[in-house]
Symmetry: C2
Subunit: 356 residues, 2 copies
Amino acid sequence: MQSKWEENIRTVTPYIPGEQPKGTDIIKLNTNENPYPPCNGVKKVIRDFKTNDLRLYPDTDSTALRNALAERYEVKPDQVFLGVGSDDVLSLAFLAFFASYKPVLFPDITYSFYDVWADVYKIPYKTVPLDENFRIDPNGYKQPNGGVVFPNPNAPTGVLEKIDTVEEIVSSNKDSVVIVDEAYIDFGGKSAVPLVKEYDNLLIVQTFSKSRSLAGARIGFAIGSERLIKHLNNVKFSVNSYTMNRLTQACGLAAVLDEQYFSDVVSRIITTRERLKFALSVMGFQLTDSKANFVFASHKMLSAKEIYESLRKRKIYVRYWDKPRIGNYLRITVGTDEQTDKLIAALKEILSERGL
Amino acid sequence: MQSKWEENIRTVTPYIPGEQPKGTDIIKLNTNENPYPPCNGVKKVIRDFKTNDLRLYPDTDSTALRNALAERYEVKPDQVFLGVGSDDVLSLAFLAFFASYKPVLFPDITYSFYDVWADVYKIPYKTVPLDENFRIDPNGYKQPNGGVVFPNPNAPTGVLEKIDTVEEIVSSNKDSVVIVDEAYIDFGGKSAVPLVKEYDNLLIVQTFSKSRSLAGARIGFAIGSERLIKHLNNVKFSVNSYTMNRLTQACGLAAVLDEQYFSDVVSRIITTRERLKFALSVMGFQLTDSKANFVFASHKMLSAKEIYESLRKRKIYVRYWDKPRIGNYLRITVGTDEQTDKLIAALKEILSERGL
């Protein structure tokens, strides 16, 4: 029975994150984590950390980390915003920038948190269908709207749009804020960061969870015009002043400073991804040309659900959604070469057991 | 000039956190941090932390920390909610529970983030005046409302209300959620946690930032009925799934487990606070009977603003608000005995320079 106080509260259907199975004998390819550890600088930062400093509040502005990101991305520090993972950044950006009565536009197949944020903040929205090849059609974003958001590369398809397509969408929406969610951009895409010079309504969001191996530290960031970042900070400081803890700020800084390790890790993942894509296509999978740290694959003869469950029995975890248009696809994170070999062997076994 | 896209965004006036001055020769008594370091267990956790684990997302449910808190506070794990400091917990609770068209009630003199959260989430609110001794009058909370929130002890006054007063407010508001913000309860107050057994609409919020010396790690928590916590989790998982990072969860667990260190530190702060209260009253200050880790004091002859500025020149930072009713008060954090001696000496000097 509902209590009377429950009439006065907000009821929502939350986002369901990928499963976090425990155990050391599993192969976890379901939440797009990096299979390689963070750089050595992160280890050193934690080892040398002055625990006594934890009694003091952290720097609300994450100054050192923000300055390092500004230098890395060739923008001013006041153009950089830090958050507790890119989900925190996106959530605050939805709250800050999508306050119109007009609908926010995003693709029909995309990151499944967008409609959840829209619902919790009571933001009207409208989805724009991807074409039959899972491509974004910029013309779909030339209708009246209260904002635009899309990932590039898109999730869970991995499909990358060219910078010209991104610019076409931004330039035809100068009266709204356009958010480009670049969580996976480091694995082969070209970032739209240079466009923020020209478009003061463009917000680029990135994360340390994928390419920088720091999913467990919770760091995301946004780059935009100083004016856009100021508005975002006003909302952030109206929600929680001290979000970035001291250890996380220090780990993030160490990760930004080791550009060599970053590019080595990214190269290795790209190489493994291309090998995995080829192996899967040989086995009868249809794949998008993913430019992310995952592949998106559908088998011609065997359902995604059955493959998902068969892999799970072998303690290999991948992601599968029972949703329109993508219900027969698997999203598989690119792991180490060893994990990839085991995945390929397991898939061969699953197919051969069924005479495929 | 305003851009067209700025018409579609949310404009707010953010909360201004206490200044975080840098330097080693300062005495920082302005943000109610604990002057003592975290317990040794925290040091050990950081030293032994497996950095490689940072590549993986953290446990969304903070299971180990939540279980430890449940045991410590004698509730079920499903009655405990974790957040990035109590500000995160309170912010999500405002979003989740204060969704009525009726106004939320809180004291006129109180934590200055309440009206900021109300504004950012567009929640109507109404303040209820404290009496002339800065006490909460439960009768003020017996009017129609969409929720109630107050700190106990109150901030920045430090005034503690008895558990009977808290219960009177809760029991007369069974149709709304009542939030008791117990950030400072460990310094001499009696927590209302036992009341959650009887009232399923009561949410108690506490923090690791004060009594557990972990302001820099960002940990807050709430205790309530399982139903209340479920609603809060639904909103939390609609905003950001992974808020509590791996290092913070581990540090928090270590802090909860060392009950002896916790009570030793709290005792020391209480002893110093009482000494400081007495010394200030001898010098001509009027004080509330603060039960928090700060004192709230007003001098009979010298303005709070002048004292604040004179202390600042001596690199002693305290907090002062230019606001109605409290504009002549200083809020001074209880530091170490050594810091307190220096503060007292500085105040004597400031008064004697003015012939007081």
